[in-house]
């Protein structure tokens, strides 16, 4: 997809974590854009094309597989004022993500081979990250007729989803799951009962009552998680549940996994970092869907991440223009950008003892790659050299003005966080370096 570097690179002395395979001080040798070897005291032996070897000193740094994000919105085609594939992948690289799955809710919706090919072509030209399109489940994401899922698959889609327009008709969802089985494609659902959530703009609870905002009950998510699990059991399909936000969802998925249902689940950094309290003052930067929930839900999400019920950390990177978020709360669009803050917020879970460093890395790399069968998220010999070098100790202040994303909509502006991407390599090519790096 992206031109690889022919340069030989040797990343020396870093703490290498390749989940389930390596966790310790090691060197990483990259040749012809691929991982050549990972081990102690490697030498490059002048194998480079010109005999030159670029040495990267990674002492006191983490050397990890490039992160994999199963859930981003790059807004192109249709909403290029919010984000383009170029700016979105630049944000990905800055956040350490080398593989991203972009949702189909563009204009037009990605329900055809042509749109999928357009996205892949834009991504190839940008060259900042590998982009894996997610195709629509139904034509126009209208929830009525199946999209040409076989064509989407052939064109390069790695999963199907109607995203923010969840398939409400259970029969249509059943058929989609059955049909997707033919291609072994994961079916993603944004679990929301649109009748229960209608008109709602934040979590239903004491804060929505105090603010006089219409709430979305946790049950709006739980009901659909439950339906989807039943359909996954019925059809045997690969089900992936997007951005779980409620304690009920976590409980349902835990029980389903115990019974052997094929399901994977993701959680977003904002859902394990913030509660509905962030909405006070009618803060539109805390408006997202699913909404920020109550404290108990946040604890349940963390427990789900800890015990493996939730496999994946995904960002739901959702750029919106500043003026859109300046509207009154009910009118403002849902979502926040997440690619450039995800790592630091995930490392908080390590500080808190919720996750080990290795399991945190797994939820950003190997686990998402496995969920969508992507050949990514590992440092195994022979794979594309997608690598992120992280300074785990660097503290920094989140400043949206410095984002690579076109949009600035984050509730984390001004937060002092720890752990920062030092450099990102895509196919052995440096696609991002923090200003102090190298």
């Amino acid at each position: 997809m992206n031109a690889s570097s022919t340069q030989t690179l040797l990343i020396q002395g870093g703490h290498v974590i390749d989940p389930g395979r390596i966790n310790g001080i090691a060197d990483v040798l990259i040749e012809q854009g691929k991982i050549a070897a990972v081990g102690a005291n490697l030498t490059a032996q002048g194998k480079g094309k010109n005999g030159s070897v670029q040495i990267i000193d990674a002492r006191h740094k983490l050397v990890l597989p490039g992160f994999v994000d199963l859930h981003v919105h790059f807004r192109e085609p249709g909403f290029e004022y919010k984000e383009t594939i170029k700016s979105g992948t630049a944000a990905a690289a800055a956040g350490g993500f080398t593989s991203v799955c972009c949702m189909p809710n563009t204009q037009p919706v990605n329900d055809s081979q042509a749109i999928t090919e357009f996205i892949l072509e834009k991504a190839r030209i940008a060259g900042n990250a590998r982009v894996y399109p997610v195709g629509a489940i139904t034509k126009g994401s209208e929830g009525k007729e199946l999209a040409e899922i076989g064509d989407l698959r052939r064109a390069g889609c790695v999963a199907i989803s109607d995203d923010g327009q969840p398939v409400m008709n259970s029969l249509v969802m059943r058929r989609a799951m059955e049909y997707a089985l033919a291609f072994d494609l994961p079916v993603i659902d944004h679990c929301e009962d649109l009748h229960l959530s209608e008109g709602g703009c934040m979590n239903e609870g004491v804060v929505s009552t105090q603010l006089g905002l219409q709430g979305v009950p946790a049950a709006a998510e739980d009901v659909m998680v439950s339906r989807n699990l039943a359909l996954a059991e019925l059809t045997g399909a690969r089900l992936h549940l997007a951005h779980l936000s409620t304690a009920g969802s976590v409980r349902l998925v835990r029980e389903a996994k115990a019974r052997g249902i094929r399901v994977t689940a993701e959680a977003c950094p904002h859902h394990f970092t913030l509660t509905e309290e962030a909405v006070r003052g009618f803060n539109t930067l805390a408006k997202m869907n699913p909404p920020l929930r109550a404290w108990d839900d946040v604890q349940a999400i963390k427990e789900g991440l800890r015990d493996g019920t939730i496999d994946v950390i995904a960002t739901d990177h959702a750029p919106h223009a500043t003026q859109e978020k300046l509207q009154d709360f009910a009118a403002a669009p849902n979502g926040i950008v997440g690619l450039e803050t995800a790592l630091s917020l995930t490392l908080v879970l390590v500080e808190e003892g919720v996750l080990t460093l290795e399991s945190a890395v797994a939820k950003l790399t190997s686990a998402p790659a496995r969920a969508f069968s992507l050949n990514a998220g590992t440092l195994a010999s022979g794979v594309d050299a997608d690598v992120v070098i992280v300074d785990p100790q660097e503290t920094w202040e989140i400043d949206p003005a410095r984002f690579r994303s076109k949009s600035r909509n984050t509730p984390f502006a001004g937060w002092k966080v720890k752990g920062r991407v030092h450099a990102t390599l895509l196919g052995g090519r440096i696609v991002y370096e923090s200003s102090e790096a190298c």
Partner: protein, 307 residues
Amino acid sequence: MSLKQKDLTGIASLSAEEIMQILETADSFKEVSGREIKKVPALRGKTVVNLFFEPSTRTRTSFELAAKRLSADVINFSPSNSSVVKGETLLDTARNIEAMQADIIVLRHSSAGAAETLARGVKSSVINAGDGWHEHPTQALLDLFTLREKKLEFRGLRVAIVGDVAHSRVARSNIYALTTLGADVRVVGPPTMMPACIERLGVKTFYDLDQGLQDVDVIMMLRLQLERQGRALFPTIREYSRLYGLTTERLKIAKPGALVMHPGPINRGVEIAPEIADGFSSVILDQVTNGVAVRMAVLYLLSGAGN
């Protein structure tokens, strides 16, 4: 004398002392409305803009009268004749008004939080004249003023708020105001009209009107907002009226001499029987009269004219 804050966006941010300060200031302004020449020069040279995105006759008129009796210049601005329909954001509209040196913007908007959003974005003082289901602070203040005028003590006062609490900014502002002043507040209505966790706001909930009216000193009836609801929160108006309409019989359950309030406009025969609305228990028209005095007090205190 003035308020510490630039704006009045809600009762939730007011202390008991601040509420009492507004009511005491309103006392002196009520006298003005009884004069032959109903005018004082307190806000001469100040500009008050009524920015109403939702239709309202009584609140806008009340604010307009209040501002005029204080000798302010008043402009009424409503979306039908403004650029709002052309896609201008609320904040841009307000900044344009501010650029014309408006001292106070009185905002009515269908979205909760609109007043707070506006207050953060402009230097002018902002008075919330109702934002979605969030707050309607001057309504609660005029209700308090009316109760106080009837010589009622707030501490321990038992008040029932009856009706669609979930979708009522009047209910929220009154709950905040009355609980801050130590009243014993209960809400009465069908569960479909009770917002989540309402008891965390310090009130008791009753689904049965007869039980809810036991020993209450004050009954605040809410308007059944037929025009606002896209969903049936109750099967029929007939059944709602039978279960939650205030009748002469039911009024007897409350304490003798209990007062009946309503923020208007009333649905006669739906939430309140006509003979109660017009009867001796009703203070509905006192509320309207007092609205002007209370709004004069709020305009005066926020203008800093007393400094």
